[in-house]
Amino acid sequence: MQLYGSEISSRLMLGTAQYPSPSVLAEAFRRSGAGIATVSVRREAGGERAGAAFWDLVRDLGVTLLPNTAGCHSVREAVTTAQMARELFDTSWIKLEVIGHADTLQPDPFGLVEAARILTDDGFKVFPYTTEDVVLADRLLDAGCEVLMPWGAPIGTGLGLTNIYGLRTLRAQFPDVPMVVDAGLGLPSQAAMAQEMGFDAVLLNTAVAKSGDPAAMAEGFARAVEAGRLAYQADPMEPRDMAAPSTPVIGKAFLS
């Protein structure tokens, strides 16, 4: 899978927040083989490098880091946070979150497009956290984004893919744009479904971090992602309404 020209081996991405400990976090990455770790800078940064010890532990995971602007509610905040993240992690990759609604953490589509444009102009490689809205996706691509991160459901809900029709439409409209289903996943089966639908990767955090055994759950998600991807590549059969017998019924007393 290519994201902004970089080859990423795993289609599973994990967040790094809310784990019981950094050791459990590391074990979750080890068992899942996740290839990308998102990391939040805003809450910990405090204008200094107070979170440095934790960030060192995240760097030690040995995976590609994707800093995010989690918790930013305005374009300015998100842009400033992205610039800080670029310095801290020496990467131009940024997962762009501009939150429009404090309670549901729903993205602000207007601020998102504006911030995406400012950041791509500044040389960032933007991964926008967006809804499944096709028009919004179009605007984000216009703004210079080469990857989209549509939500499955609002952050932290674990509801899975709540608008399957919308996600299918989005996938079909932009078949060549790498898309990562981000947020709202609670179970591996939901991640498998996103893969079966042709999404390139999934990103999740709470479902793993807040489970009773994060490392086991991370591995469960990794296997589901692999299963879903295999199914997608294998060109699944078309569902049909009537049962079709796979062996001939001639000679059997099927009418008796």
Partner: protein, 323 residues
């Protein structure tokens, strides 16, 4: 008589000193400020002795060893309130209570009536709760002050100096020991103290919330300690956001908190190792007792006992860490 030095007069240092006195040692405690106060992170603790609730995220040793804590503090003459812990959620987070109940042993489910019987002031506000009767709480500042006085009367000398390792030394300096323990990191916690004459709680209350968890620990004189924030940072700044979260959650728990007096806001960084479990380690004649994370009052007694056993018997106890 065996002589020992203790570096650091926080909860770990005082507990180690108490265990050493129990073994008949001649003990000197060094700390630039050798009395409990805002310079040490135990000052800001909640004082919940809640090993079962902690198992929601902490590993098994915390639950097992934490059960020693209430009895240990009582044997030191510290007032410990054994009224258990109450766990609540706001309406739309009810399922958090189910999850918590699945993970935490030793709880009883309460309906509205059962809750009102335990905490009359919460009557009518919640229709479900969990009660964990085997838990306790104490006032950390009173406990530290009491323990220090008791140690002084037992002949322990307190010296207002940084202190150097010399002979048998127990290094209990928390974050200040980072120079010797590079794996240590700070995990920031923020707290507020409110005073309300309108509200009475008999036991700590935990409000589960996916984003803004809260605990409220009642103290004497109408005081309530609010806490729960946990941030990967070693700064000690008191942030508006954390205080907003704590106060909003408290207000959601009971509107009487809206009328309370805001007595104090505090923040400090708790020393933690990457697995968030405490560690004992030896460097020469020095034994390090560190990484108590959010479990200072809960685990310091067990860690102190194990550290002193390790020194006296040259045993390699649990949490023993070799570089």
């Amino acid at each position: 008589m065996m002589r020992a030095r203790v570096l650091g007069a926080g909860v770990a240092g005082l507990c180690v000193a108490a265990e050493l006195v129990g073994q008949g040692c001649n003990v000197t405690v060094f700390d630039p400020v050798p009395r409990p106060g805002p310079h040490g992170c135990s000052w800001w603790a909640g004082g919940m002795l809640a090993p079962f609730c902690e198992s929601e995220t902490a590993e098994e040793p915390v639950v097992r060893l934490g059960q020693e804590a209430a009895g240990w503090w009582e044997r030191q003459g510290v007032a410990v309130t054994r009224q258990g812990t109450l766990v609540l959620t706001l309406g739309r987070d009810r399922r958090e209570l189910d999850r918590f109940g699945r993970r935490v042993a030793g709880h009883q489910s309460l309906d509205a009536k059962g809750l009102a019987a335990l905490e009359p002031d919460l009557d009518g506000r919640f229709d479900r709760a969990l009660h964990i009767p085997g838990e306790a709480h104490l006032d950390p500042r009173a406990a530290l002050a009491h323990l220090r006085t008791r140690l002084e009367s037992a002949g322990v000398a307190f010296v207002a100096e940084q202190g150097r390792p010399e002979g048998l030394t127990f290094d209990c300096r928390g974050m200040a020991a980072r120079d010797r323990l590079p794996d240590l990191r700070g995990v920031k916690g923020e707290m507020a103290v409110l005073r309300s004459a309108d509200l009475r709680l008999n036991r700590p209350v935990r409000l589960l919330h996916p984003r803004y968890p809260l605990y409220v620990v009642p103290r004497a004189d109408g005081l309530f300690m609010l806490g729960a924030t946990q941030i990967e940072s070693d700064d000690r700044k008191r942030s508006v956001r954390s205080v907003l979260e704590l106060l909003s959650a408290a207000y959601a728990l009971h509107p009487a908190f809206g009328e309370a007096e805001l007595v104090e806001i505090g923040a400090d960084a708790r020393p933690a190792f990457p697995d968030n479990l405490p560690r004992l380690s030896r460097q020469g004649d020095t034994i390090h007792v560190n990484g108590l994370f959010r479990h200072g009052f809960l685990l310091a007694p067990a860690l102190a006992r194990m550290a002193v056993e390790a020194a006296c018997d040259r045993t390699r106890p649990e949490f023993w860490h070799e570089d």
